[in-house]
């Protein structure tokens, strides 16, 4: 009898399993189910609140979390956006203010209209979290000084006149918008008076700033009972492996939103994304590093396709110039001549990268836009090979002993590249570099660090001679050059004033000099970078040209490869995906859907 019961139970389980396997997606209706992953949310967390300010919050950008506008990431103009909560915007010619008109028919998923008051409360919440446009420090560049609700659908934000910045508009347009009727209670009644006081000087201002920033943890932990979204979808439910979002019928562009439901799958590592892609489960997946063999498998799945576009990120070999012999520019130049970047890229990132043409601090594509073809060509390409490298090493005083390069005092020289063990492309790239250097008589080795947090801590503490470092983080020019001439190289912005701290102090691990000579002229690259925040037009171009030359001649880093934004799509269920090189590729697929691009097949 017991045996019979056991057999019956097993049969029951088998039947249930079979039943579930057949009905997996049965609940999706007409518009269909769109399946994707959110690269910004690895490791879905059911305990996290539906809160866009929370790093793990279950608010998915472009789906149930909205910004005023979606940044196009234009190569030279950071102030271009697609409409979001804002239907249109008017920027004053000197960027001193921005007047935003909200989408006239947009409603929250609970039926209440989206108003300028919602935007104002959202700005208040952004003040508690800090950030460029909402800095409380009166000397901070590009901060808002006045927020004025003009009418129900119009709001004007004015920039503080004493320290204007070109980052202001972008800072405003990237404001996360949440409903006032849910979140408003987090701001005390005298909040706006406090903001006004905080943007002055003195003890009262200090107290006001503290009172506002003290609200940050409360905002971060706030957990609305249910999702109230102004985006195309609202969160219906989730488990640790998946999140289900359903269409928000009140969304202003709901008629053009094709899918009825969106399923966001959890991932903790690239292998899981590869597995989903190989199984043809994902309608789209954002940039993922993929080895060549996996790429072949993914491509072989029916319906799968690849879209490629510009990615404003590059990878480089960065030097700690406070260590010998890397303080000598000729050593850095010699190494640059020796490294075959095409070879490195082929090994490290064949699908997701293109070899850097040279070191300019910028990705090759915006470099061409900013500098022009002639100026770009005038930069040293560092392709001289062994002959040029020997020349540079000799200038640096290095000696060749038994076929190996040694330091000026005859002591052996070993170049050690540190990389985090978990970054397979960096590791492969570093190994390719050391192999090339060893062949050319430079003793070189790769040392791995257990994980990324440890790598960054040790890098910042100046423990490494040479490490991998992300550069060219555009599109805003200031963002690009602050990776070379920012905190990590000694320049710090405190209370609106720029200062240079000595090597090895306060995160200055690059240890470069405060001034360098570019074409016979002494320049302070940190100061020039800082200026990029406040100048526009020709002046901006001139500074960029100078910085590109500085980076090219002084080589605080050797750029190895530019990342390519390689994304995956599957056209079995939906069509209308952005094409190669579309600026939409830098935005989430939620934005593609809400703009009405994605169509049901």
């Amino acid at each position: 009898m017991k045996r019979l019961a056991a057999v019956a139970a097993l049969l029951g389980l088998a039947a249930v399993t079979a039943c579930s396997a057949g009905n997996g997606n049965s609940s999706s209706s007409g518009g269909g189910l769109y399946t994707t992953i959110d690269a910004l949310k690895p490791g879905l967390d059911v305990n996290a609140p539906i809160n866009p300010y929370n790093p793990k919050g279950n608010a998915f950008r472009g789906y149930n979390s909205m910004w005023l506008g979606w940044t196009k990431n234009h190569m030279t103009d950071p102030n271009q956006f697609y409409p979001g909560i804002a239907e249109s915007w008017e920027i004053a010619p000197d960027q001193s203010s921005i007047t935003i008109k909200l989408q006239p028919n947009n409603k929250w998923s609970d039926g209440k209209p989206v108003t300028a008051e919602d935007v104002k409360v959202s700005i208040g919440l952004a003040y508690t979290q800090g950030g460029t446009a909402y800095a409380l420090d009166p000397k901070a560049a590009g901060a808002a000084s006045d927020i004025q609700v003009i009418d129900d659908k119009t709001i004007k934000i004015t920039q503080a006149a004493d320290n204007p910045s070109v980052t202001f508009v972008r800072g405003i347009m990237e404001t996360i918008i949440v409903p006032e009727h849910i979140w408003g209670g987090l701001l005390p009644a005298d909040f706006w008076d406090k903001v006004k006081t905080a943007r002055t000087d003195g003890p009262a201002a200090e107290a006001a700033r503290k009172a506002i920033t003290d609200l940050a943890p409360k905002v971060l932990a706030f957990a609305p009972k249910e999702d109230v979204s102004a985006g195309p979808f609202k969160l219906e439910r989730m488990n640790p492996g998946e999140a289900l979002l359903v269409k928000n019928k009140n969304f202003y562009n709901a008629a053009k939103v094709a899918p009825d439901q969106v399923k966001i799958l959890n991932y903790n590592g690239n292998e899981q994304i590869w597995s989903y892609l190989t199984a043809g489960k994902l309608d789209s997946a954002p940039f993922t590093a993929v080895p060549a063999d996996v790429m072949k498998r993914i491509a072989a799945t029916p319906g799968n396709g690849v879209v490629r576009g510009y990615s404003p990120v590059g990878n480089s070999l960065a030097f700690n110039q406070s260590k010998k012999p890397y303080d000598n520019v000729h050593v850095r130049r010699g190494l640059a001549h020796l490294i075959n970047r095409d070879q490195v890229t082929k090994v490290a990132s064949p699908e997701g990268g293109t070899a850097s043409a040279t070191t300019s601090g910028m990705h090759q594509r915006p470099a061409a836009e900013w500098l022009g073809a002639a100026a770009l060509k005038s930069l040293e390409p560092y392709k001289g090979g062994v002959a040029k490298a020997d020349e540079e090493f000799k200038k640096a005083g290095l000696k060749k002993v038994d076929g190996k390069w040694a330091l000026a005092d005859g002591k052996p020289w070993k170049l050690t590249i540190n990389v985090p063990a978990s970054f397979s492309d960096w590791l492969a790239g570093a190994k390719s570099v050391t192999s090339q250097l060893n062949d050319a008589g430079v003793s070189a080795e790769v040392v791995t660090t257990a994980d990324y947090p440890l790598y960054l801590e040790e890098l910042a503490a100046g423990k490494y001679d040479v490490g991998m470092w992300l550069v060219a983080l555009g599109p805003a020019p200031y963002n690009i050059y602050q990776r070379l001439y920012g905190t990590s190289n000694g320049w710090q912005l405190l209370a609106g004033k720029l200062k240079h701290v000595p090597a090895g102090k306060e995160g200055n691990w690059m240890g470069g000099p405060e001034t360098i000579e570019v074409d016979g002229e002494k320049v302070d690259p940190g100061e020039l970078t800082h200026k990029l925040n406040s100048v526009t037009g020709d002046e901006q171009k001139k500074i960029i040209a100078k910085l590109a030359k500085a980076a090219n001649q002084d080589l605080p880093v050797i750029q190895l490869w530019d990342y390519v934004n390689t994304q995956f799509i599957n056209t079995n269920r939906f069509t209308g995906f952005p094409e190669n090189d579309s600026d939409l590729l830098r935005l989430t697929s939620g934005v593609w859907i809400q703009l009405g691009l994605i169509k049901k097949k």
Partner: protein, 336 residues
């Protein structure tokens, strides 16, 4: 007070001291793990396409959730919280209580590991008895070899093989998650079926990985018991074969119960590789994430849970032995 109750009280007191000692040691170790989790998060966000300002904004507030004060102060805060059953807040999910995060992850580990372990235990001991009795036959050899083979394959290799087989070559099982979100959670056929479907691969891996150990241990135990005088006496007295078989099984299984109880304690540690490979969001996966993100509070909570589970399992194993083996009980009573 009975012998068992006194014994239990002694175990609990020692267990409590052990928990405090282990918690203190793990606290010091955890707080001294090098690495800057917030800088790592900042760099990750930038790599994913966030502008430096956005990334700064998204990470700056996290500093408020980092432990404050010197190590002693942090230790006192942590221990006083512990006595109030407050393990603090997660760093990577600000606002989420560590106890809630642990509870959520624990349920996804305990059920599959428990099912897998019990399944392998039941099949393993049955096959072990059979392999011992038929040890000179071909089937006995096959069973013993299968046990040695499966015992020798590392769990993660088995997981990779099963994953490749059932999710890529013959894609009949899902490669990750706990259940299809399209099913409304609750006591309905679709949802339960989806749970089973998603747990199938982790359970199968746990079961196959530990089956080898059980069959070998049981076979060896049965072979030892077979040579005992009381079995010979029973056979000479002409007892039924089924009764003799029961004698053998009951005596041979005793040491295995201890191992079972201990392995049930270890299950709280999660099977890190298995959960990682199958993207199954249990304690193992949570532990990896918390270490990668230097989520000190979560790491501390996870280690505490594992410590308590192992200590409790040890106590249970010891008490179980007292209950199921009369020789231990009578020995203790005689010693009084």
């Amino acid at each position: 007070m009975t012998v068992i109750a006194r014994r239990l009280a002694g175990h609990l007191a020692r267990g409590l001291v052990m928990v405090l000692v282990v918690t203190s040691i793990s606290f010091v170790i955890i707080r001294n793990i090098p690495g800057d989790p917030i800088a790592a998060r900042y760099e990750k966000l930038i790599e994913q396409g966030m502008s430096p300002e956005q990334a700064e904004r998204a990470t700056a507030v996290l500093y408020g959730f980092m432990p404050k004060g010197n190590l002693w102060q942090q230790y006192l805060d942590y221990m006083s919280g512990l006595f109030r059953l407050d393990l603090g807040e997660s760093l990577m999910t600000p606002g989420a209580q560590v106890t809630d995060v642990l509870f959520e992850a624990t349920k996804w580990t305990v059920l599959p590991v428990l099912v897998g372990t019990l399944l392998s235990f039941l099949i393993g001991i049955m096959m072990g008895v059979y392999a011992a009795i038929k040890r000179s036959g071909r089937l006995g050899d096959i069973l013993a070899v299968s046990g040695s083979l499966l015992h020798g394959i590392p769990q993660y290799v088995l997981a990779l093989l099963l994953g490749a087989l059932f999710t890529t070559l013959i894609p009949i099982l899902p490669s990750g998650g706990t259940a299809d979100i399209m099913f409304e959670p609750g006591f309905n056929l679709g949802y339960i079926g989806s749970l089973i479907e998603h747990a199938a691969l982790p359970v199968l891996t746990y079961a196959l990985a530990s089956y080898g150990g059980w069959i070998l241990a049981m076979k060896s135990s049965v072979v030892t018991v077979l040579g005992d005088d009381f079995i010979l006496a029973a056979e000479l007295r002409g007892m039924k074969r089924s009764i003799v078989f029961r004698y053998i099984a009951r005596n041979a299984i005793l040491p295995l119960f201890t191992i079972l109880a201990l392995s049930l304690g270890l299950l709280f540690g999660g099977a890190i590789f298995i959960e990682r490979i199958f993207n199954y969001p249990g304690l193992g996966l949570m532990l990896i994430d918390s270490i990668t993100n230097r989520d000190f509070a979560l790491m501390g909570g996870a280690f505490l849970l594992i410590t308590i589970a192992i200590i409790v399992a040890n106590i249970v194993a010891d008490m179980l032995y007292t209950v199921i083996d009369p020789r231990v009980r009578s020995g203790e009573e005689a010693g009084r």
